[in-house]
Symmetry: C2
Subunit: 653 residues, 2 copies
Amino acid sequence: MAQNEEHGNGTTNGSAAEIVPLVHKVEVPPKRNVFKEVGSGLWELFFHDAPVDQFKGQSRRKKGLLGLKFIFPILDWITTYTPKMLLADTIAGCTIASLAIPQDLGYARLAGVPPVNGLYSSFVPPLVYAAFGSSRDIAIGPVAVVSLLLGTLLKQEISPTDDPENYLKFAFTATFFCGIFQTGLGVFRLGFVTEFLSHAAIVGFMAGAAITIALQQLKGLLNITHFTTDTDFISVMKSVFSNIDEWNWRSIVIGLAFLGFLIVTKIVGQKKKKLFWISAIAPLTSVILSTLFVFITRADKHGVKIVGHIKKGINPISANQFFLSGSLAAAGAKVGLISALIALTEGVAIGRTFAALRDYHIDGNKEMIAFGVMNLCGSVTSCYVATGSFSRSAVNYNAGVCTAMSNVVMSIVVLVTLLVLTPLFKYTPNAILSAIIISAVISLIDGRAAWMIWKIDKFDFLACLGAFVGVFFVSVEIGLLIAVCISFVKILFNVTRPHTARLGNIPGTSVYRNVTQYPNATLPSGILAIRVDAAIYFSNSNYIHDKILHYLEEETQKLVKSNGAPIQYVIVDLTPVTNIDTSGIIAFEELEKTLKRKNIQLAFANPGALVITKLDDSKFLAHLGSEWLFFTVSEAIQVCTMLLNQSAAERQV
Amino acid sequence: MAQNEEHGNGTTNGSAAEIVPLVHKVEVPPKRNVFKEVGSGLWELFFHDAPVDQFKGQSRRKKGLLGLKFIFPILDWITTYTPKMLLADTIAGCTIASLAIPQDLGYARLAGVPPVNGLYSSFVPPLVYAAFGSSRDIAIGPVAVVSLLLGTLLKQEISPTDDPENYLKFAFTATFFCGIFQTGLGVFRLGFVTEFLSHAAIVGFMAGAAITIALQQLKGLLNITHFTTDTDFISVMKSVFSNIDEWNWRSIVIGLAFLGFLIVTKIVGQKKKKLFWISAIAPLTSVILSTLFVFITRADKHGVKIVGHIKKGINPISANQFFLSGSLAAAGAKVGLISALIALTEGVAIGRTFAALRDYHIDGNKEMIAFGVMNLCGSVTSCYVATGSFSRSAVNYNAGVCTAMSNVVMSIVVLVTLLVLTPLFKYTPNAILSAIIISAVISLIDGRAAWMIWKIDKFDFLACLGAFVGVFFVSVEIGLLIAVCISFVKILFNVTRPHTARLGNIPGTSVYRNVTQYPNATLPSGILAIRVDAAIYFSNSNYIHDKILHYLEEETQKLVKSNGAPIQYVIVDLTPVTNIDTSGIIAFEELEKTLKRKNIQLAFANPGALVITKLDDSKFLAHLGSEWLFFTVSEAIQVCTMLLNQSAAERQV
């Protein structure tokens, strides 16, 4: 590393190949077939998890069995199912049912459909999921955020109060499309679309949605009749305080008392993991107690609003109730698509989280098919969009669930409720359902995650905040839109302005690192080494071209001031450059021309297989001279230093 | 590199730090201020070319002068302008004027405005550009593709034949908004938006547009009156062959004869660079000869369509003719935005190309301001959208242009034409203008570039083909949309599915490379090293997590078959990982948990400054143990090998 030797100022015409026999030659890899090349890219996009690997080298019979298991994951565990597991699943199933039933009644109101449809949605979808889904811990049914989203979007087309019949039909239509889209995304393995919603955006969106949902519950809690249909903070507050005359103190007392009870049990459950069952049965207990209280005191005669009559019986068929043509079909498809994506994002994330906790694998695309089929089945049996519920899944897990059988148990409990117990809910006060929902959605506000995001990445925090503010002050739709846009802007920003670094040698090693991070890293004078930290595409090729020239300019100005020898070699480290396109090659061609005019030689270090193939295909490699392609930055610098010394020696002679 | 030693199968609980004192510690860099962190990102986005660097450390007077020069690049060269340069610029200016005048008449028809507005657009905008623009070689005026685009988009709102007056107003409105958008993009340094249109997409778009324009000229060439307003291939062909009765043989003969002449001179000019002037004066010669011919033979009385009367005089003011409210204003803004982007993409690319040829620098954002101001001035003086013309700029360059003064000379020639010579164009046959346009747009079809794209990158070729097919069979708008979409899909694909590689040691070095590219690279058994070639963000964090586990699974299966020792260390090389967000850290946390359950230790090699800061902020580093952060892959492998040997030795004791 002849750092202190004298270097000449003259032009270096000697070729690297003549002077130093290279230790390591960088070879152009053999050409790949066009279809193979395009194919391998598409393969990574759609099948990166290699779902068919397990089929390889199996007998035909085995392949058939594996195929069946692939479609119906239930076959994976049902053959080894033991009574002990059944006991565990029954306990877990009953626990989540006791949570699900009151939540379903409340969430249905959030979605604008009759309470009984909430119960229906906890009967059919969990059964279907048990057969098709691979998660063992998830609890299926209506969830708060999707119900709110569905309610908001559906109300834009039809009013649930003026035309409840068509509104319900429209909800089934949206559910049907939701199922279609979810199945389609899974079958065509397009599950990666949900990856464009960043963690940060989801945290913000969920928090905003939770508060919005809680605010909506003021209607039930305060017993207000004339409540706004908007969901933003300001409209809700206006609506609450302009209708003070409608407030009912009995309702408020019942609601607040039980809300306090629910929150206390929740905190107890969180503090002492063993007492989690207290928080799990608290909602049902509240429903029973408050219903009894209303029934005994006949508080409903004093204006306390109650759930009222719920039709007995299992899900009626709704297959003939879809809008399949006209503007409502189009609107239904739109609503279906949005709720499909949100339901998937939530559901798949839950599946993944618990799968990681218990060390089994979830195939996102297969899960999407399971969700899709379950919502399709739901849409023809009077259900609205169901997905995995975070709070109920956590309870399920804590209750010691073994397999998806707990969903079947829950289903059966809901079935019994539908067949026998619905009349008992007649005197359940709306206020209690509101209290249950508020206590349920509070856990969607993840302050710790937001704090973590702030600490780790300010731009992520912006996405989080944007989504939150959008949901809170405008609507769930706008919040979602903001979240998606900020996420995209971040991707594009990263793609347009990739990181680049000037490299220097860490003394005592042959390692070259970013001089900003390792300030003691140095380079022999006359040489500039730059690393480009991204694939070079049209979106950043101009920037990279300009940036390299900018580094050169900076260095030259420094050298002019310190009277140092001018730069004669620019080495571009291509280690992280996994790919390059035509724009990138054009940028390098221009760079080479500009540098040549300044008597500077361009050299590349460690190009990847794809990059070297493309440099060769474009004839740029032949133009540059393959001797200027080095195996490592270290070798490139060795050769350049020798050439510099040689030309200095020549000038002295 | 103890590759052939025996390794144990037991769990490794020893800490790396206890056993080997590390040679190089990876330090967490000092915390940066929030504003600095966000600021430096934004700085790179908007000011990566450091436009204010030149102002640093200058006196106040000098700063003022530099500021003036920054706004008016004309001041950069006007003070050192010599008579010799004036001579060169005059020759170049007259040459491009002789090309511009007939082209302007034809392009104006393409845009649907009267021919005289084409001439106006070659008078004011070049003058303005000469003061504000930094390119010395560009020739300003109406261009074919933008004229076609403008014509297509404007016709969607107003018919140029039924309501020519409002159509012209609408054209001025669009030009006004185009200027606003261009200036805005430049002032707010948003020039990078044009970088999202890839080279490949532009090649395809231009070729499609060139053929579309040529097909449109069949109207003039064949003398057809009832010509379709659609631009797609099928409509044009139908229109041509269903109106055979309108064809005029005189017009066809004149058109084809001169088209042949123009193409021959063009080929001569390309083959012998010294004879380029032949191709440069051929269009004007053709116009003069054909006009004389029509005037003498009075072919116009036999149905040959002529340009007709053109109003004498300079540009009238059109500042009061804009639609500034209502739906036409919104439509004008949309058309303005689209044509602004296309005009900028073309204009800035031309500036850049010639700047690279003559080794001076073009600031894209400053150029945008120049284009914007010139179109704003144009819109109030009856011009429509002008930009840099590729063919005329090339002629300008070949004619030996020195500075933007050649645009001023061209302007003066056009002015003289407007004041005195317009009546002479009365008898110019439309067929000759069509012939000139066809011969001009042919050079926009760059077959060599398309071939290069095919060879280098198949996905790029798809973008190229998509844009071409879209323009050719549907419309310029759809072609543009396809080009943009394919470009975006490519970016997103790259972002969602980044490259990853299993690493191996190149024998005889301490270098670790992709084992697919260097098949002789190996690793000691019990260790797996993986490199991730992209910043880890929400869009790819799940994929990277899955991919690492997939590599592990693959390797484990191989080891089970060969009875080898199981993997005990997974080393992730973070060299190319320039940044990580919350989703990425969560993915690594999950990965660490999963690996720990399999008794595998996770280690990182060479994290960048940003990544290490975030790993530290999120407490993940503390959780993992900072001893599992290595300076290089090589050091990580050394330590892991020693630990493996040690545990093997322990088990033997």
